[in-house]
Amino acid sequence: MNIRTFSIGGIHPEENKLTHEAVTQVAALPKQAIFPLSQHIGAPAKPVVQKGDKVKVGTMIAEAGGFVSAPIFSSVSGTVFKIDTAIDATGYRKPVIIINVEGDEWEETIDRSDKLETVEAHPELTPEEIVTRIKNAGVVGMGGACFPTFIKLTPPPTAKAECVIINAVECEPYITADFRLMMEHADEILVGLELLMKGAKVTTGYIGIETNKMPAIELLTQKCAEKFAGSPYTVEVVPLKQRYPQGGEKQLVDAVIHRQVPAPPAIPVNVGAIVQNVGTAFAVYEAVMKHKPLFERYTTVTGKRLKNPGNFLVRMGTPMQDLIEACGGMPEGDNKLLAGGPMMGKALTSTEVPICKGTNSVTIISDDEARRKEPQPCIRCAKCVGACPMGLEPYLLAKLSEVKNWERAEHEDIVSCIECGSCQFTCPAHRPLLDNIRQGKATVMGIIRSRAAKK
């Protein structure tokens, strides 16, 4: 087996995949569903319903608020209770639509059968039609970044797509939602990949999976051989060495096709690659073939102290509290509640925050692990430099941010930081490297933007 990986830095955090074997359960419907209007990168969606309106499962409740944006669909049937604000994953109160759940009535246009649809059976699916359906179904990147999928499929004229890479790396500790999805819906994922390739007008596809998910590698390799033999498409399942942050877009492209995406503003398609999460491929299948907009997703609910951690098919808008209760309730004492995994997840200020399009995991960190250790002086051991997957010098960027030397920070490429946290994970002195770098990066990006605006 030819195992590949990315070329610079990286770390090996404790795996903690507690729910690898846990077959996905369907989560119970919430009593009330909360839909933040900003669940994606770009402009917030604009509500198209009013208080008192009746909605069904799959009814559009907010339309795209701009080009880089995505519509939002109700995941429940019932009555719009109010359009208000509520605390979301950022910790701030943001505009939301709240729906009181009554029954479970779906829009008639959605095909709820399990029948596997194939691209060959649907000649009406031109690349343009595929992209339009993906756009209208509100599909965004399901790995957490939530970038609208249709934009990635229509690259700028300066770049030419050559392949689609499916990101099934799942390098974050704890999370197993993508693994379960692959084990339970491999056929649908491959049709989704075919749709993505057709939509992007390419014939080459890759599926990158880390070797801690051997059953998925074997299953997909076999299914790919069956499905794509004799077709115009070449699809390869690429086993990857376990290493964080391999699921980062740039690292994955480097690992799979050995091309490095240049510094921002370059994006993967500048080197010919369109990267889509495996969950996105599944959502694309459902959106295009089943006319089902994006309103539910696979999410892992996990934590060392949680009684019954598991994987769930969750309707979006379900408060995390409901899922935590389903897993045996919040552990005693102080905990850290994360939307996402321990490396890049956001710590939440409330258990009422709903599951959104990008919530791949609800992770609960307990006891000593929930608190940071006291920072010590930097001993200049250079381990952060060795761990940085972008070839940066985290100790220096953190220092420059502390002393507010923005000019030098820009010169040292602070905007290339992908905020993966490898430096801070590695630091023997427990220094808050990424806290400082993040602040510096935001400031420098602001300076660059205002400079561009003046021109």
Partner: protein, 332 residues
């Protein structure tokens, strides 16, 4: 229900700590320490104990009473390490009061003056050694012979391999080199007439320490390998040109070269931060060591070479950058 704790990502941390690294280096020094006890006996025990105790005391006292630091760094192992490394650079018959002065220079002048752990420009143990070498040249250049287990101040001194090499170069007479122990004996520390500093008598004990530090990922290979390789090549060329220069195997196995390359030049605080920078630093140290050993006033050049390159470390850090991800050659 308890509180929800909130902080920015990452929420996981590796198992590495400052203490783990410092005590890891101390563990790596243990084979060489045991060898020094074995060869130099009582004197070695007294010198090591004095040096470590004095370094720890100065670190604690200066941190508490002069710098008034909220967090005293005395327990992190760095002062113990400086004490051990200073002792390894000293002759085993050095009087206690001189050792204490050395420790004061190492911790007080070289480390705490700059703000303590992580802020010093020069390697503290080497500053201590250099200060003593200037202040007490007689005591610091006479070296006890091995095997006098019960003696301390009264130990009989002898010629070190380096002083023999220096003699050969001065006289231009290659036959002087016949007095050198064989390379294998230098490697194993098996030379009964040998003399030298406590930590430099047995190369294999130091190499075991290197293997341990590489295995535990405390240091990377770049600095020790680049120093030793540079010295070997440079000394080899000189030996080929003129046999009065010792053969390269004897050169890398004698004096403080292994000790310096493995334990002194790799000091985190005073060495460059990038792999490329570390290679430049290592090659320069190797080059300077051979130059000083052959054409300088002192027989040993390792510690001065490291101190000189310590001064260049900020410059190297400034100009030598790691290869950025996705870096493409600038288009004209």
């Amino acid at each position: 229900m308890g509180k929800l704790i909130v902080s920015l990502s990452p929420h996981a941390h590796g198992t590495d700590t400052v203490e783990r690294n410092m005590y890891g280096v101390i563990i790596a020094l243990m084979p060489a320490l045991l060898v020094s006890f074995y060869f130099f006996g009582l004197g070695s025990v007294i010198v090591t104990a004095t040096s470590v105790a004095a370094c720890v005391f100065f670190e604690w006292a200066i941190s508490k009473y002069i710098l008034k630091q909220a967090r005293n760094t005395v327990l992190d192992g760095s002062a113990v390490l400086t004490g051990l490394l200073l002792a390894f650079n000293l002759p085993s018959n050095l009087p206690i009061w001189i050792i204490i002065i050395g420790a004061l220079f190492a911790i007080g002048v070289a480390k705490m003056t700059f703000g303590g752990l992580g802020n010093n420009l020069f390697n503290p143990a080497l500053v201590g050694r250099a200060a003593l070498l200037v202040a007490f040249p007689a005591q610091m250049t006479t070296w006890p012979k091995v095997g006098q287990l019960g003696s301390y101040l009264d130990a009989e001194t002898g010629a070190t391999p380096l002083s023999i090499m220096k003699e050969a170069i001065k006289s231009g007479d290659a036959s002087v080199l016949d007095q050198l122990p064989s390379s294998l004996d230098l490697f194993l520390g098996n030379h009964p007439d040998g003399a030298g500093a406590m930590g430099e008598i047995c190369a294999i004990a130091l190499l075991i320490g290197l293997a341990y530090m590489l295995w535990k990922k405390i240091i990377t290979w770049h600095i020790p390998v680049s120093i030793i390789a540079t010295v070997f090549i440079f000394a080899g060329l000189l030996h080929l040109a003129n046999p009065a220069y010792a053969d390269p195997f004897s050169v890398i196995l004698s004096g403080g070269l292994m000790l310096g390359a493995i334990f002194m030049a790799t000091d985190y605080v005073t060495s460059p931060m990038t792999a490329k920078g570390q290679l430049i630093y290592g090659v320069a140290i190797g080059f300077l060591t051979v130059v000083i050993r052959n054409w300088g006033a002192y027989p040993e050049g390792m510690s001065f070479a490291i101190l000189i390159m310590n001064a260049f470390t900020p410059l190297i850090n400034n100009y030598v950058k790691p290869k950025r991800f996705g870096e493409v050659p600038a288009k004209s």
